[in-house]
């Protein structure tokens, strides 16, 4: 194995580590909401700097490799993919932090209704993040395509949650403050799924060398 290959291996490991940290942040943020655990939420907020640090570290490593190794073909694709993926992962971390902030606010007030759709959305979104990175490791285009497809489910659930909460707000204006916050959380999760989709698209670029962003679903096939 060449030195460069070792460096690329280390880069991949760092991305996976960052993915694991982000995934945990999403899980904990939503758990702090569902289980009304504000301490956990504060921990998520505190830990965000770890994600930011990893983002910077990975970007710097990518820039160094570009400058020193002049990567070509799949190496070039992998490094550019790494730079774009970390941006998405970092944004997911920020969104988890936002969820945690909303959770602290919501935990101050009485519960509006049991959370049912939010955990479901979260499960799907987390699965998307995990599978997108799994696809990167395995070079599995099909898995990445599957991640992209699952984004629609999250979008649908987000609309469903919004409609339900809208109904609450119309019926009882005193719920507006809480309902709006929960709408935000739903939106945040929907955004996390979008970022996971971006990651999956870059993974496909990394494997196939084809940019499929901004194509219609039929074109993506």
């Amino acid at each position: 194995m060449t030195v460069f290959e070792k460096e690329l291996g280390e880069l991949k490991e760092k991305i996976l580590r960052m993915g694991a940290v982000v995934e945990a942040a999403i899980r904990d943020a939503v758990a702090s909401l569902v289980e009304r655990d504000s301490d956990l939420a504060r921990k998520v907020i505190e830990n965000d700097h770890k994600i930011n640090a990893l983002d910077v570290e990975i970007d710097e490593e990518c820039i160094r490799l570009i400058a020193i190794r002049q990567p070509r073909a799949r190496d070039l694709r992998f490094i550019t993919t790494a730079m774009k993926i970390t941006t998405d992962l970092e944004r997911m971390g920020d969104l988890a932090e936002d969820i945690a902030e909303r959770a602290i606010e919501l935990n101050e007030e009485p519960i509006l209704k049991p959370y049912i759709d939010i955990p479901r959305m979260t499960e799907i979104a987390r699965g998307m993040v995990r599978d997108a990175l799994d696809a990167l490791v395995k070079g599995d285009t099909e898995l990445a395509m599957d991640v992209i497809k699952r984004d629609d489910e999250v979008d649908m659930l987000n609309v469903q949650v919004f409609n339900e909460l809208l109904f609450f707000m119309i019926q009882d204006p005193s719920t507006v403050s809480r309902a709006t916050r929960i709408t935000y959380v739903s939106k945040y999760i929907e955004r996390i799924a979008d970022h996971a989709t971006n990651v999956a698209e870059m993974v496909i670029y990394n494997i196939e060398g084809k940019m499929i962003r901004h194509l219609t679903p039929s074109q993506k096939q």
């Binding site: 060449t2 073909a73 799949r74 190496d75 060398g209 084809k210």
Partner: protein, 262 residues
């Protein structure tokens, strides 16, 4: 000529069709087919001994200088539709239309002026005024005029390596070639001289069709529009340069491009 071939010949300067080449009994090139686009730079890359230089030297019939070599197939030169490697065509006629720049700068031990004028003298042009004009034009074309205009009658050996190679480019340009062949033109030069030559190649393609053989992959990436990857006398992959360098389709190409070859 059918409409179709007119359309092709407008875009193409040359087209290689099923080219086989033999050094005696050894087959050095195997069934090569390749379009050469007009006023574009086509790069030939591949590991040592893959046949890229051998292939390049088919275009100006350099192999005819040595006994025992044999071509099969066609290299069509457009728009005249002549087959460069046909035995019925005099190699000198081909070399008058297709110039070559070699791996090591090889100026003649004559003055700068005479080096550039030589190709014209070979063609029987001895008129002082015409020679002066063409020498200046070629030296300007090779981005050397400003550096040598006051010492045209100095020996070419007094120039630096990079200048010598640009002189060789001027010499090749003086005869108004239809295709300019470069055989690893910067392998003997330092990085500064190399980037000057590369700039020059990119500029020259506005005037002339260029084929370049290079060991330096980054150079192929920098100067060429299309790249052919060769291995063991065959073309493994041919595509637009950016495609070859970001997402080659063949595994062999990928391994070579990323430096994991062999």
């Amino acid at each position: 000529m059918s409409e179709m071939s007119i359309a092709i010949s407008e875009k193409l300067k040359s087209e290689v069709k099923n080219l086989n080449f033999y050094y005696g009994a050894v087959q050095a090139l195997k069934n090569i087919s390749l379009p050469i686009e007009r006023r574009k730079v086509t790069a030939l890359i591949g590991p040592s001994g893959c046949g890229k230089t051998t292939f390049l030297r088919c275009f100006n019939r350099m192999h005819d200088l040595y006994p025992g070599n044999r071509y099969e197939g066609e290299i069509i030169l457009y728009p005249d539709n002549i087959n460069i490697i046909s035995t019925e065509i005099d190699p000198i006629e081909i070399r008058m239309q297709i110039s070559m720049v070699f791996q090591k700068p090889n100026p003649f031990p004559k003055s700068i002026y005479e080096n550039v004028a030589y190709g014209l003298r070979v063609r029987g042009i001895n008129n002082k005024q015409i020679l002066n004009e063409r020498v200046e034009k070629s030296l300007r074309g090779a981005a050397l005029w400003e550096e040598v205009k006051d010492r045209l009658h100095d020996l070419a050996f007094e120039l630096s390596g990079g200048q010598q190679q640009r002189l060789c480019i001027a010499r090749a340009l003086a005869t108004d070639p239809r295709i300019l062949l470069f055989d690893e033109p910067t392998s003997a030069l330092d990085p500064t001289a190399t980037s000057k030559i590369e700039e020059l190649i990119i500029e020259l393609k506005n005037e002339v069709t260029i084929i370049i053989v290079t060991h330096n992959m980054q150079q192929a990436a920098r100067v060429s529009d299309s790249t052919a990857f060769m291995y063991l006398g065959e073309i493994i992959e041919f595509d637009r340069t950016e495609k070859i360098f970001t997402a080659p389709t063949k595994k062999l190409t990928e391994e070579y491009i990323t430096g994991r070859f062999g």
